[in-house]
């Protein structure tokens, strides 16, 4: 789960990380009021769950209230990577001496949390990682001790080379680690962390992602969720026990198991088609789940054909077939469907389906080819 910059900044603030003042605004009027009250140079920043807001024109410096109003007018309602900007953050424009990057991330290889810092702040860290990997300092944190004072200080010394600044920065690293642990984050970035001419260190922009599997114990984080339309669909699917992700193609897929679902999408592509979605119905043969899955699938108007790919394991194919038959009785659609059943009791399942007149096949590749053919009619 992702949150907005303004929400990340609030979490930072709750943990004592210094963040410049800011006001969240939904209207140009609110922007004007905020800029007037702040009575100094401000930055107006689009709050959308997408990277590259600056490049897209979603971040503007405003020297006067009039500038701020103009920026608000421009940014509110604009489209950034397909997302409409519904709110902006009006925040103090801080004098910047130097920009740094600080991030925490789960590292699969070391099976630990890694602290990453760089003197190349303010740009996307992925760019730095690609072009100047030597400019990123990575420190793997021992889960048994957490980020220790001396470690944070030593890393900060590498970055600042000055003990007073290093101690300020180290304190921020430790607070960031604490909030990372306590919120079950999977990513926490301060970018940029800035040094001001007055030798203050401030978090100017923040990005946080959280572990969906841990949201059950993170009510405060869950309350921050602001899903867009696409995510709402995914969440709704999740609540029905389905994993659904919309894609751009025209062949709808319904598969049991995530790996097989990905392999199914790949197969469609391999044979020249284009998958309309990822959809994993999991291990159940419950007809209701099949109905829900079909409804979600078919709500995508691009879908021209459906490929159902089931490998029966513990789940028996004849049970799945019965579920499918019931589901299709209820749903009634003109979209052509091809069903592939394999594994436990596949023959019985295929026999049941034959009676319904649905095209059935017994291999994935056949199913993919058939679905592509049907989608072109």
């Amino acid at each position: 789960m992702k949150i907005h910059e303004y929400q990340a900044r609030q979490i930072f603030r709750d943990y004592g990380i210094p963040v410049p003042d800011g006001v969240l605004c939904y209207t140009v009027y609110e922007v004007e009021k905020a800029a007037r009250e702040m009575d100094r140079m401000v930055v107006v920043k689009a709050q959308v769950l997408a990277g590259g807001r600056g490049k897209a024109g979603g971040v503007k410096l405003a020297r006067t209230v009039e500038d701020a109003v103009a920026a608000g007018k421009q940014i509110l309602g604009m489209d950034i990577k397909g997302l409409t900007v519904e709110k902006v953050l009006v925040t103090d424009a801080v004098d910047i001496e130097k920009e740094f990057y600080v991030g925490l991330i789960n590292d699969r290889n070391t099976k630990s949390i890694t602290l990453m810092v760089s003197a190349e702040g303010g740009v996307e860290i992925e760019e730095v990682a690609k072009n100047n990997p030597e400019k990123i300092i990575k420190y793997s944190i021992n889960p048994l001790t957490g980020l220790l004072d001396y470690q944070a200080r030593n890393v900060a010394m590498e970055l600042f080379g000055n003990i007073k600044l290093a101690q300020k920065a180290a304190s921020i690293f430790i607070k960031l680690y604490k909030l990372y642990i306590e919120t079950d984050a999977t990513l926490a970035e301060i970018n940029p962390l800035v040094l001001t001419p007055e030798n203050e260190i401030l978090a100017i922009d923040g990005k946080m992602n959280f572990d969906d599997n841990a949201l059950f114990r993170q009510p405060k984080i869950l309350a921050m969720r602001e899903p867009d339309a696409e995510e709402l669909q995914e969440i709704a699917a999740n609540e029905k026990g389905l994993a659904y992700i919309k894609l751009d193609g025209n062949i709808g897929c319904m598969v049991n198991g995530a790996g097989l679902a990905m392999a199914t999408m790949d197969m469609i592509k391999l044979y020249g088609g284009s998958p309309a979605n990822f959809l994993d119905i999991g291990g159940s043969s419950n007809p209701q789940k099949v109905i829900d899955a079909m409804n979600i699938l078919l709500s995508d108007k691009n879908v021209k054909a459906v490929m159902i790919n089931i490998f029966g394991g513990i789940t028996r194919c004849d049970d799945v077939a019965k579920g499918l038959i019931k589901a299709l009785e209820i749903i009634m659609t003109d979209i052509p469907i091809v069903v592939r059943l394999s594994g436990t009791n596949a023959e019985e399942g295929l026999a049941l389906l034959k009676e319904t007149g649905l095209p059935t096949v017994s291999s994935m590749s056949e199913a993919a080819q058939k679905a592509i053919e049907l989608s072109k009619r």
Binding site: D211, A258, M262
Partner: protein, 293 residues
């Protein structure tokens, strides 16, 4: 021979009185797995399908000498159950539970290492040594004794491929589903090493997917250390970046973990990568033929 589980496995089922635990305990027992105990706090003294139930893993180990555990408890309690098994001296823990918070896994990993416990999973289908022991939720009938080692990050895709292998008369020494989570127990390299050292195993099939760089590491390991042929398949070539494809681990972040990179790494290591699952048996046949020249 085989790796990890065999006739000497003495299995304890944690969460045996739950719906999944009960069902799969029966299936495993039916297959011939030596299940010596179940754990369900408060139910000590009961039996389930003839299996004695204990309040704690420690009690179960003391009474039965269990050496392997399989975990079916809900995700929120899985890390605790894994530590309980590990602290009780269980040498191999298989965690089936899906949806375990990543930081729980990060937290317990060094403790498992200290205790010398091997973990498979979480969010995995388990493993099977055909003809000896099934420790997981894999559908037994698709497996067959033989000399192919099998490692996969996914569930039903495993079944799909194993089924193809069995149909093409490639039986298996041991098939391991390592699970789709980003932070998990045994990984490709660990298992490749075990298969390399298992005299019975002649070749290995590896099913990877997008996300992380375990496949790249596996490729490097194969190039440097392995004498046995390996054939690979990577799922998720069409998955868009930044989206989590069902598995928490199957997410491409910022230009790393893509299928292309993984396939390139395997090709560089001389490991053929199947374009689709159906190709795997043929690739395997070819590599084995090359090897025997």
């Amino acid at each position: 021979m085989s790796i990890l589980v065999n006739k000497d496995t003495k299995l304890v089922v944690q969460g045996i009185t739950g719906r999944d635990g009960k069902f799969h305990a029966s299936k495993m027992k039916e297959y011939g797995t030596n299940i010596v105990a179940g754990v369900s706090p408060g139910k000590e003294g009961e039996t389930l399908d003839g299996i004695p139930v204990f309040n704690s893993v420690a009690h179960a180990v003391k009474a039965t000498g269990a050496n392997t555990s399989i975990i079916f408890v809900p995700a929120a309690f899985a890390a605790d159950a894994i530590l309980e098994a590990s602290d009780a001296g269980i040498a191999l823990v298989i965690a089936i539970s899906e949806g375990v918070p990543i930081q729980d896994m990060i937290r317990i990993t060094p403790i498992l290492k200290l205790n010398g416990t091997l973990l498979i999973g979480p969010n995995c289908p388990g493993l099977i040594t055909p003809g000896e022991a099934l420790v997981g939720i894999l559908p037994a009938m698709i497996f067959k004794e033989g000399n192919i080692g099998f490692i996969s990050r996914s569930g039903t895709l495993t079944y799909e491929v194993v089924n193809l292998l069995t149909q093409n008369d490639f039986g298996q020494t041991t098939c391991v589903g390592i699970g789709g989570d980003p932070v998990a127990g045994l990984y490709f390299i660990d298992l490749l090493e075990m298969f390399e050292n298992d005299p019975e195993t002649k070749a290995v099939v590896l099913i990877g997917e997008i996300g992380g760089d375990a496949e790249e590491q596996a490729a490097q390991y194969i190039a440097e250390k392995m004498t046995k042929p390996v054939v690979a398949f990577i799922a998720g070539q069409t998955a868009p970046p930044g989206k989590r494809m069902g598995h928490a681990g199957a997410i491409i972040s910022s230009g790393s973990g893509t299928a292309e990179e993984k396939i390139a790494a395997f090709n560089k290591a001389g490991v053929p990568v199947a374009k689709e699952p159906g190709e795997i048996p043929e690739l395997l046949r070819r590599r084995l033929a090359e090897q025997s020249k």
